[in-house]
């Protein structure tokens, strides 16, 4: 297992796309979160009473994740699909023929690297956002805030693993991105606005993730942060599991 892991780590760190996508994840998430925080602070007096009642300073500073997660998805998908688009997967499997070992090596590599980037992104987003929110800010020691900041990092990490699973299922970069990107960027937000479908859409990973990184859980959603964590985890495990079953059976 260790040689396979080292090998995957060398692969990840020797292509430029890793640095570009992870840097984008950080910059977009932090930057957009800061922008939204600054706008909130400037316009707080003009917002409605209802909005003020549900105001959550922590999740406002994480507003950038909606867009930032797309770069994270690209990173995770490319870790798997670049092997298929170049044909390198055959060299990889000739070197490591145990497919479970190979898949786990990729999962652990992504897990380790993304966990570091996610923690960095979550904490920087939080502190920068709070600084810009001025008098509306919360402190890291307030109840539920530390959990929400770590929740953000956990959500990002699990999202990356979910994407790795989907990439193993579809193998080609464009179809994998064509499934994941609209799902997180369009389909889930739209379905969550449709009254009846909403009950199902509540269990989508991005909604569950939002429960995880908000201090005030949304009252629309019928579960709290802990359940949110397990829902995102279940999505990630299911995608990797299905990805593995297909990967094990198929010709490379």
């Amino acid at each position: 297992m260790f040689p396979a892991l080292l090998s995957e780590w060398i692969k990840v760190k020797t292509v430029r796309s890793t640095f570009i996508t992870l840097l984008l994840t950080f910059v977009v998430t932090v930057g957009l979160g800061a922008l939204v925080s600054a706008l909130f602070a400037a316009n707080f007096n003009h917002t409605s009473a209802a909005d003020r009642a549900t105001f959550d300073a922590t999740s406002v500073s994480f507003s950038g994740i909606g867009l930032g997660q797309l770069a994270l998805i690209v990173f995770s998908v490319l870790v798997v699909t670049s092997e298929y688009s170049s044909g390198m997967i055959r060299a990889t499997l000739a070197a490591v023929p145990q497919r479970l070992t190979l898949l786990l090596a990729k999962v652990v590599t992504v897990l380790g690297l993304v966990a570091v980037i996610s923690l960095l992104t979550a904490f920087v987003s939080f502190f920068l956002g709070q600084a810009l929110l001025g008098s509306h800010r919360v402190s890291i020691s307030d109840p539920g805030v530390t959990r929400a900041v770590f929740g953000m990092a956990i959500y990002m990490t699990l999202l990356a693993l979910l994407s790795v699973g989907v990439a193993f299922m579809v193998r080609r970069p464009i179809p994998a991105l064509a499934i994941l990107m609209p799902f997180f960027f369009l389909i889930s937000p739209i379905l969550n606005a449709v009254p009846k479908v909403k009950n199902v859409a509540h269990y989508f990973p991005d909604v569950a993730g939002r429960q995880l990184f908000s201090v005030r859980a949304s009252s629309d959603v019928p579960y709290g942060p802990l359940a949110g964590f397990f829902i995102v985890l279940a999505w990630a495990v299911a995608c990797i599991g299905i990805g593995y079953l297909l990967f094990k059976r198929r010709d490379a």
């Binding site: 060398i10 020797t14 070197a95």
Partner: protein, 319 residues
């Protein structure tokens, strides 16, 4: 030793490999021959457990490929040129591979030098020519210093110098006692390097024999002659028990003919000869005869009876 037993691969209703059984002899270059679409690459992928066989088995020293620990130290394979991430350097490409099988990192520089890529080791492989990609693939195959080497169409896309280099490399690898299994669709190429031959067509085994046996069995020798008085000469030949047949270009072929005797016979009968030459059928023709039944895609038009006119000869007709 690699043993292939009743190996079969089906894609939908198409049988790509059909109950193929053979053993690859150790320590020599074995040519794996077949027309395009015969199932050579599919077979090679199944040897490495990349494609799952529909039925049948492959055993490498009695083991399944997936059971080999650090398989690159057993078998090195070149499957397709440029199966590398275009953004990764040649050096880094070999580095991840070495790490996966606990091969010391200095071996990377050794194989890069061996294939002549040291100067471009730190360049991204995306900018490599087909020939450089092929050399990188060969470096990858040699990385683990394996006993068995497998090359799928290694001379494809190489310039003449590269072709000679690959030929010599394969011979020297076999001379070191390694087993070299190399696929090709060119008999003439194999005749220069391989000691043993495994021929397949439409996924089925057509021949499995030492190269020199194949040459003995298939190299037809005959004498070609041209004469303005064919009737007289044919009579004279048949009196001596020889038969001649027209070859389609106005020349006659005498199977296993003795050139001196035919010349004497012509002189004795006062027949003018315009050509008298010894001929050997090429191995390529023998290979084509063997696989004619098994060719996947037949061309519709038969080979031209007469050679096409030289360039410029037809200008008068067109005007």
């Amino acid at each position: 030793m690699i043993e292939v037993n009743e190996l079969t691969k089906r894609y939908g209703d198409k049988l790509a490999v059909d109950h193929l059984s053979f053993t690859i002899p150790q320590g020599v270059v074995t040519g794996f021959l077949g027309p395009n679409g015969a199932g050579k690459s599919t077979t090679m992928r199944m040897l490495l457990d990349l494609d799952r066989p529909t039925s049948g088995t492959v055993r490498i020293d009695g083991k399944h490929y997936g059971e080999l620990r650090e398989p690159l130290k057993y078998i090195g394979a070149l499957l397709e040129a440029k199966a590398v991430h275009p953004g990764r350097t040649a050096h880094n490409h070999l580095r991840w591979m070495a790490a996966s099988n606990r091969i010391p990192a200095q071996r990377v520089d050794e194989v890069l030098a061996l294939v002549g890529l040291t100067a471009v080791a730190k360049k991204r492989s995306g900018g490599f020519s087909l020939g450089m990609g092929q050399r990188l693939g060969i470096a990858a195959a040699l990385l683990g210093d394996p006993k068995i080497l497998m090359f799928d169409e290694p001379v494809n896309g190489l310039d003449p110098e590269g072709i000679v280099w690959v030929r010599n490399l394969m011979k020297s690898l076999a001379a070191e006692g390694r087993t070299v299994f190399v696929s090709s669709h060119l008999m003439s190429e194999m005749a220069l390097t391989a000691e043993h031959l495994i021929v397949i067509g439409r996924g089925r085994l057509l021949a499995n024999l030492p190269m020199n046996e194949f040459i003995d069995q298939n190299s037809r020798s005959f004498v070609r002659l041209r004469t303005p008085q064919p009737e007289q000469l044919l009579d004279a030949l048949s009196r001596e028990g020889m038969t001649a047949s027209l070859d389609g270009n106005g020349a006659w072929e005498v199977e296993n003919g003795d050139m001196a005797r035919i010349g004497d016979l012509a002189a004795a009968n006062g027949v003018t000869l315009h050509e008298l030459s010894p001929q050997r059928a090429s191995l390529e023709e023998a290979f084509m005869r063997m696989t004619a039944e098994a060719v996947e895609y037949h061309t519709e038009t038969p080979a031209p009876e007469n050679p096409p006119a030289a360039w410029g000869e037809n200008w008068k007709k067109e005007s």
